[in-house]
Amino acid sequence: MIASTIADSESASFDSSDQVRADQNAAAKPRCRRPIDYILLKLAARCNIACDYCYWFRDESVLKKPPTLTTDAEDALIHRLRLHIEKYSLSKFAVLFHGGEPLLFGPNRFARLCQRLRTLDVETGCRFKLDVTTNGLLINDAWVELFRNYQVGVTLSIDGPGEVHDAHRVDFSHRGTYLRVIAALNTLRAGGIQPGVLAVCTPDRDPRDLLATFVDELDIKGFDILIPDANHEDNPPSIAPYYKRLFDLWLSDYAPRGVRIRIIENMLLGLMGGETRSETLGYGPVDRVTILTDGSIEALDILRIAGNGSTASGLNLVTHELQEIERDPVWRSALDASLTLAAACVNCVYSRACGGGHIASRWSSLRQYDNPSVYCADLKAMFEHAWATIRPTLYVEPRSGATVPL
C-alpha cells in the first residue's frame, strides 16, 4: 500500500476559524498522499508568439530558465521516472508536453524523448499517456507523423473567429496567427489526428460567433472555453453573461448535434452531484506538478500568476525525487487550499460543483488562497442559471427503476 497518512504535524497550522472549515470539509477531504502520476513537462520556456493574456510570461523568472529542456534535465527525468514508477508500482503515468511553445523543442529531440518514454512504457509496464498543447504554428507533416507514431494526443489553441483570435494571439510582428493555426488543424486532420481545441473566453463577444466558427465552419465537435486567468490582484471583466449565453446556445442548438464543451459538461456534472473533470471547476485536490526546462520541480504552473518566482521550490530532478514535491510549501498550500474552501464558499449550494473556482483565481497577496474565486459572483450566476434551466427536467431513478421527479 503506497498511500500513507499525512501526519497532523505535517499539516499547515490552522486558526480556529480554519479548523471549523476544515471540519466542515472533513468528510470529503482525502487525508492520504498518492504518488505523482501526471506532470506538466515544459519542453520550452519560450514561445514563438505573444498572446496578450498569457499567464506564463507574467512571471519573468521563466526567462531565466533554459529556452528548451536541457539534455541533463531530460536524462534526469527518465532516470527519476523509472525509479518513481518502480517505487510506487505505477500502472499509468501521464505527461503533458507544455511550454511556452513545446514544439520549439524541435522534432528530433521530441522524437528522442518520446522514444525514451515509450521504452520506459515497455520496460516498466507502466502505460504512458502523452499529450501536447500547442499553438500549432510549427506543425507540419513531420510533426504529425511523430504524434501518430508515438501516440501523442494534440490540443490546439484557437480563440474562435479569426478576428478574435488575431486580436489576442499575435506573433512578434503583431500579425495575427489565425490562418496559420487553421492550416495546422488541416495538416493534423490530413495526417489522421483530430486535435482537442482550447479557446479562451472573450467576455465582450457573443459566444454564438465562436460556436459558428468552431462547429459550423471548422467542424470541431469537442472543445473547452477557458475562463481568463485572473486573481484578486486583477480586476477582470464579468464572464457570467458570456457563459450563460453559451450554455443556452449549447443546450438549444449545439448539444443535440453532439457538440461537447468541457466547461459546460463540468458545470452540469457538478450540479447533478457528479465529479467534474477539470481543475477549472469543481471540488477536488490540486496536486499537479510542473517540470521546468532545467529540471526544476514545481507546483501547478499557473500558480505563478501570483508573481515572479512565486512557484520556485528549490527542487530539481537532478538532485531530488519527483515525489519530494510534497515538501514544497507552494505545492502543499495549493493542495490544502483546494481541499479547504474559503469561508464564503462553505455554505454556498454550489460549493462542490464550483470548488471555489480555479485555485489560481483565489489568490490575493493579503490572504493567499483563502478567498473564493475572483470570479465568485460570476460563477454563482452561471451555476444558478444552469441549475434553473435543467432542474425542471431532472428526476431520480432508484435502482428499482421507479422514478421520482425533483
Binding site: 501516440q151 461537447r260 465529479e275 454550489y350 428526476y395 428499482s400
Partner: protein
C-alpha cells in the same frame, strides 16, 4: 378544512408493488433540493439512485456520473485545464 396533502400519491397496495420501492417526497423537501444536497444524499446517506433528465443532452451527461466516485475528485483521472481531452489519434491502439 384540512391542509392540502403535499406529498406524492401514496404507495399502491402491497400486492401490486412487485417488490419495487417507491419514494414519496414532500414538496417542501423537493423545493429545498440543491446540487450540494443531491451530493450529500448520495454520499453521506448512501442512497443509491441515478440523476436523470428528460432533456436528452443533459441526460447524456447525467449518465456519465460514476456512482462509485466520492466527493473528492477521483485521483486517477487525467485532466488539465489546457488539455480538454477531446483529441483522437485515429490509429491509436
Amino acid at each position: 378544512m384540512p391542509e392540502k396533502d403535499d406529498t406524492l400519491p401514496p404507495l399502491p397496495p402491497r400486492r401490486e408493488r412487485s417488490g419495487q420501492k417507491k419514494a414519496a417526497l414532500a414538496s417542501a423537501t423537493v423545493a429545498a433540493l440543491t446540487p450540494d444536497v443531491l451530493a450529500d444524499i448520495k454520499e453521506k446517506l448512501g442512497v443509491d439512485f441515478k440523476i436523470r433528465s428528460s432533456d436528452a443532452s443533459v441526460d447524456t451527461i447525467a449518465s456519465s456520473i460514476d456512482p462509485n466516485v466520492g466527493v473528492a475528485r477521483e485521483y486517477d483521472k487525467v485532466y488539465d485545464r489546457t488539455s480538454p481531452g477531446y483529441d483522437r489519434v485515429y490509429d491509436r491502439g
